[in-house]
C-alpha cells in the first residue's frame, strides 16, 4: 500500500530539484560541455508505431499533434481508437497472444496489475535512465506529481508493493472528485455548500426545487454495481470516513463499523435527495444529468467533468456552476480517490526504442501542456499546473474566478490510490458495490450485506 500525500511529496521533490540542480552545476563545472549526451530523435527514423487508444479527450488532443512527432522523429504513427469496453477486449487479445500489434497503449493502474503480472509490460526505468534515449534534464521525471507517477510502480506482489518496484506506466492525466453545485439554486433555497457529510445529510431533505422544465432533484452521483463505486466516487466518501479496503495489517475493512456508517449515510443521502432510478446511474449519466440542469448538486463526481459543465454546447448550466471540496468525514478527515490514465509499452513490441521515443515525447513537458490546453485534463506534471495559459483557460470555471483550479489542487493534496494492487481487484470491488446496492434496493441490513461481501472477497483472495 502506498499513500500519496502530495503536499509532503512536493516538498520532497523541491528538495530533490535543488539537489539535482547542485549536481548538474557540479557536473557542468567538472566536465566539458560536449560530454552531455545528446538524444538523437531521428535514431528510429522510418519505423511505424501502432497505438491502441481508448476514447477520451486525451485522444482528441493527441491526434492533431501526431504529425509533429513524425516531423521530429521520422517515425510514423498509426492508431486504433476504441471505446473502453471493445478497446480493452482487443488489448487483452493482443497482449495475451504476444503479437506486439500495439507498441504503445492507453491503460490504468487497475488494468496494469493484470498486464504487469503476466509480463506483458516493458518496465520503463531503463529507458528513462538511458541517456541515448532520454535527456534527463529536459524530460525531468521529477516534474511528475510524485504520487501520480508512483501509481504506475509495483513490485508485482499481490496486495502490496504499490509505488515500489519497477515503473510500468507513465501518467497522461488524472482525475479526482469534488462537489459541483448550482449557485443560483443554492441561493434560492437559502443553503450553504456543505462542509461535512453531517451538513449534507442535514440539508438533503431541502435539496429540491422547481425549474422551468419541471422538478429539479437534489443530488446526483453514479451508483452502479461496478468497481468504480467503492473505488472512486463512493470510495471518496468511504476514505473520508477512514475506511480503506485493507488496514495496515492487511485485514479487510469492508464491514468495519466506519464502513457500515458510511454506507448507511450514503444510502440515506441517495434515498432522501436523489430521484427514482438513482440506483443505476453510470458515470456518463451522472455527468449528463448534472449538465442537463436537473440537479442542484453533483456529489463526489469526477472533477474533469467540469470541462463538459463549462461548455455551453454540451451543458445547460455553463454559466451557473460552482465547485467545492468533497465533504469532511465524521472525524474531520478528508481523503479522495484518484484515477490515473497512463500509457505503457508492450513487452512484445518489436521496436521498443521507437515506442519509448513516442512515450517520452507524449509525456514531455511541452507536449503535455499543449494537450491540456486542447482539453486533456487534469495535469500530472507540476510544470503544467504552473503554466499561465492553462491557468487562464480554467480561470473562469466556477462560481468565482479560479474556483475550479483551487478546489482541484486542494483535493489532489488528499487524492490517492488507497487500494491494494491485485490482478482481479475489480472482481472484489464489484462484489463490494453489490453489497452497497443491496442496502439501497432491498432495505436490508447494511452490516450483514457488507460482511457477506467481505467474506466473499476474502474467499477470492484465498483462492
Amino acid at each position: 500500500m502506498f499513500e500519496l500525500k502530495r503536499g509532503a511529496l512536493i516538498k520532497g521533490s523541491v528538495r530533490g530539484m535543488a539537489f539535482a540542480l547542485m549536481c548538474s552545476l557540479a557536473a557542468v563545472a567538472m566536465a566539458p560541455a560536449s560530454a552531455r549526451a545528446e538524444v538523437n530523435w531521428k535514431q528510429a527514423e522510418g519505423a511505424t508505431l501502432n497505438l491502441l487508444l481508448i476514447s477520451h479527450p486525451f485522444v482528441d488532443a493527441l491526434k492533431p499533434m501526431l504529425a509533429e512527432f513524425t516531423a521530429k522523429t521520422g517515425i510514423k504513427v498509426t492508431f486504433e481508437e476504441l471505446a473502453e469496453q471493445p478497446g480493452f477486449e482487443k488489448l487483452l487479445a493482443d497482449l495475451s497472444s504476444k503479437t506486439g500489434a500495439y507498441d504503445v497503449f492507453m491503460t490504468s493502474p487497475l488494468n496494469n496489475w493484470q498486464y504487469a503480472s503476466a509480463g506483458w509490460l516493458e518496465p520503463l526505468d531503463d529507458y528513462i535512465a538511458n541517456d541515448k534515449l532520454t535527456d534527463a534534464a529536459e524530460y525531468d521525471v521529477k516534474d511528475f506529481i510524485p504520487g501520480i507517477l508512483a501509481s504506475g510502480r509495483w513490485t508485482l506482489e499481490p496486495m502490496k508493493g504499490l509505488g515500489e518496484g519497477k515503473l510500468w506506466a507513465l501518467p497522461i492525466n488524472a482525475e479526482s472528485y469534488q462537489i459541483a453545485y448550482r449557485p443560483s439554486l443554492m441561493k434560492k433555497l437559502g443553503l450553504e455548500v456543505p462542509k461535512t457529510y453531517a451538513d449534507l445529510l442535514a440539508l438533503a431533505p431541502k435539496l429540491k426545487t422547481e425549474g422551468p422544465d419541471g422538478p429539479i432533484h437534489g443530488l446526483i452521483t453514479r451508483f452502479d454495481k461496478y468497481w468504480d463505486l467503492p473505488y472512486l466516487t463512493f470510495g471518496t466518501m468511504l476514505q473520508s470516513y477512514g475506511v480503506e479496503m485493507v488496514d495496515a495489517s492487511g485485514k479487510l475493512q469492508i464491514c468495519s463499523d466506519a464502513s457500515v456508517k458510511a454506507t448507511e449515510d450514503f444510502v440515506k443521502l441517495i434515498r432522501t435527495a436523489s430521484p427514482e432510478g438513482a440506483g443505476a446511474f453510470t458515470w456518463d449519466q451522472a455527468m449528463q444529468g448534472f449538465a442537463s440542469g436537473q440537479y442542484v448538486m453533483s456529489l463526489n463526481e469526477a472533477n474533469l467533468f467540469a470541462s463538459v459543465y463549462e461548455d455551453p454546447k454540451q451543458s445547460k448550466i455553463a454559466d451557473d456552476v460552482g465547485y467545492a471540496l468533497t465533504p469532511l468525514g465524521p472525524n474531520g478527515k478528508r481523503a479522495a480517490a484518484a484515477w490515473v490514465w497512463s500509457m505503457s509499452l508492450n513487452s512484445a513490441s518489436k521496436q521498443k526504442d521507437a515506442a519509448w521515443l513516442f512515450l517520452e515525447w507524449v509525456t514531455s513537458k511541452d507536449v503535455m501542456v499543449k494537450m491540456h490546453l486542447a482539453g486533456n485534463m487534469n495535469p500530472v506534471r507540476h510544470s503544467a499546473w504552473a503554466n499561465q495559459e492553462l491557468a487562464a483557460k480554467v480561470e473562469t470555471w466556477g462560481e468565482v474566478p479560479g474556483q475550479y483550479r483551487k478546489v482541484t489542487e486542494e483535493e489532489s493534496e488528499v487524492a490517492a490510490v488507497r487500494f491494494p494492487p491485485h490482478p482481479e481487484l475489480t472482481r472484489m470491488l464489484d462484489r463490494w458495490a453489490e453489497a452497497v446496492q443491496q442496502s439501497y434496493f432491498d432495505n436490508g441490513n447494511v452490516k450483514e450485506n457488507l460482511c457477506a461481501a467481505q467474506e466473499a472477497v476474502q474467499q477470492m483472495l484465498d483462492e
Binding site: 480493452f88 487483452l92 503476466a118 452502479d224 427514482e276 444529468g289 475489480t426 453489490e434
Partner: protein, 301 residues
C-alpha cells in the same frame, strides 16, 4: 447408373467420393470440433491469461459455479430472458405478419420499414434505448407523463430491468419473426383461402383454421432462431445495464464475458459457456424435432 454396371469403376468412383468428402470433413473437424473440444478442455483447467501456469482442475470450475448464488440467479435470468423474448415476439410478430399480409397499396412501405431495426447493431440499439429509458430525462417517461401516467423505472430498478431489456430485444428482433411468418403466410396457396371464403369462413376462422395451421412449422422456425439467440444475448445487456442493478440482468453470457475479458479467467468463462451451449443444444434439438414433425404433417412428407 453407368458406373454401377462396371464393378471396378464403381469402386474407384466410390473411393474418389470418399476422398473428396474427406477434405470438407477435415475442415469441419479442425474448424469446429477441435476448437469446441479445446474449449471444453479449457473449462476443466484453471487457465488465466495473466497467470503463467495452467493446471487441470477437473470439474472444480463447475463445482464452484454450483456453489455460487450469482450463477443460479444468472441461469434463471437467462431462461427468463429467452422465454419472455420468445413468448412476446412470436405473437407480436404473428400479428404484424397478418397485418402485412393484407393486400393494400401502402404495403410495400410497411414491409420495407419493418425490417429497419434489424439493420441496427445491438450495441447501438442498447445505447439508444438506454437514453430513451432514462427515468428523469428519457423520452419514454415524458410520453407516459403526457398521457397522465406515473414515471416507470425501466432499467434502473431490479424489478423492471430485465423486462425493459426484453422490450429492447423485441424492438430489434420482432421484425425477424414477422418476416419469417409473413413468408409462411404467403406460401399458403390462394386456392385454399378462396375455398374457405366460398365456404363462408370469416376472417377469424380463416386465420385460426387455415393460416395458423399452415404457420406452425414457421412458428417453430422462429423459436429455433430466437431461443438460442436470446439465451446468448449479451450486447444489449452490456450496453444498457452491464448485468445490474444488483444482479437483475446478469445472464450466463454476461458472467462468461466478464470472467474472460475483465478477469482473464478462461477456465471459468469456458465452464459457463459450456453450460450455455448445453442449454442451447437442448432447446435446438427439441425445436428441430418439433419442426420436422410439423413439416411432415403439413406437407405430408
Amino acid at each position: 447408373m453407368a458406373s454401377a454396371a462396371s464393378g471396378k469403376g464403381a469402386l474407384a468412383g466410390g473411393r474418389a467420393i470418399y476422398i473428396a468428402m474427406l477434405a470438407p470433413a477435415l475442415c469441419l473437424l479442425f474448424l469446429t470440433i477441435v476448437p469446441f473440444l479445446d474449449g471444453v478442455y479449457t473449462s476443466l483447467t484453471n487457465e488465466k491469461l495473466y497467470a503463467g501456469v495452467t493446471r487441470f482442475v477437473g470439474f472444480a470450475n463447475y463445482l464452484k459455479l454450483a456453489q455460487n448464488p450469482t450463477f443460479w440467479i444468472a441461469l434463471g435470468n437467462t431462461l427468463l430472458y429467452a422465454g419472455l423474448a420468445t413468448l412476446i415476439q412470436i405473437p407480436l410478430g404473428l400479428a404484424v405478419a397478418l397485418l402485412l399480409d393484407v393486400p393494400s397499396k401502402v404495403q410495400w412501405f410497411f414491409r420495407s420499414t419493418i425490417a429497419l431495426p434489424l439493420l441496427i447493431p445491438p450495441v447501438v440499439a442498447g445505447l439508444m434505448w438506454k437514453t430513451m429509458m432514462q427515468p428523469q430525462s428519457g423520452v419514454l417517461n415524458w410520453l407516459l407523463a403526457q398521457v397522465g401516467l406515473p414515471p416507470f423505472a425501466w432499467l434502473s430498478d431490479p424489478s423492471t430491468a430485465l423486462v425493459s431489456i426484453v422490450l429492447i430485444d423485441t424492438w430489434l428482433f420482432m421484425p425477424l419473426a414477422a418476416i419469417i411468418l409473413l413468408a409462411g403466410l404467403q406460401s399458403i396457396s390462394g386456392e385454399v383461402l378462396e375455398a374457405a371464403r366460398i365456404d363462408g369462413a370469416n376472417a377469424w376462422q380463416t386465420i385460426r383454421h387455415i393460416k395458423l395451421q399452415a404457420l406452425k412449422p414457421y412458428i417453430v422456425l422462429v423459436a429455433m432462431f430466437r431461443i438460442p439467440d436470446a439465451l446468448k444475448s449479451l450486447e444489449i445487456i452490456y450496453a444498457t445495464t452491464r448485468g445490474g442493478p444488483l444482479n437483475a440482468t446478469r445472464t450466463l453470457h454476461v458472467m462468461a464475458y466478464e470472467e474472460a475479458y475483465r478477469w482473464s479467467s478462461l477456465g471459468r468463462a469456458m465452464a459457463i459457456v459450456f453450460i450455455l451451449w448445453v442449454l442451447s443444444y437442448i432447446f435446438s434439438t427439441i425445436l428441430l424435432s418439433l419442426w420436422r414433425k410439423e413439416e411432415m404433417r403439413f406437407h405430408g412428407r
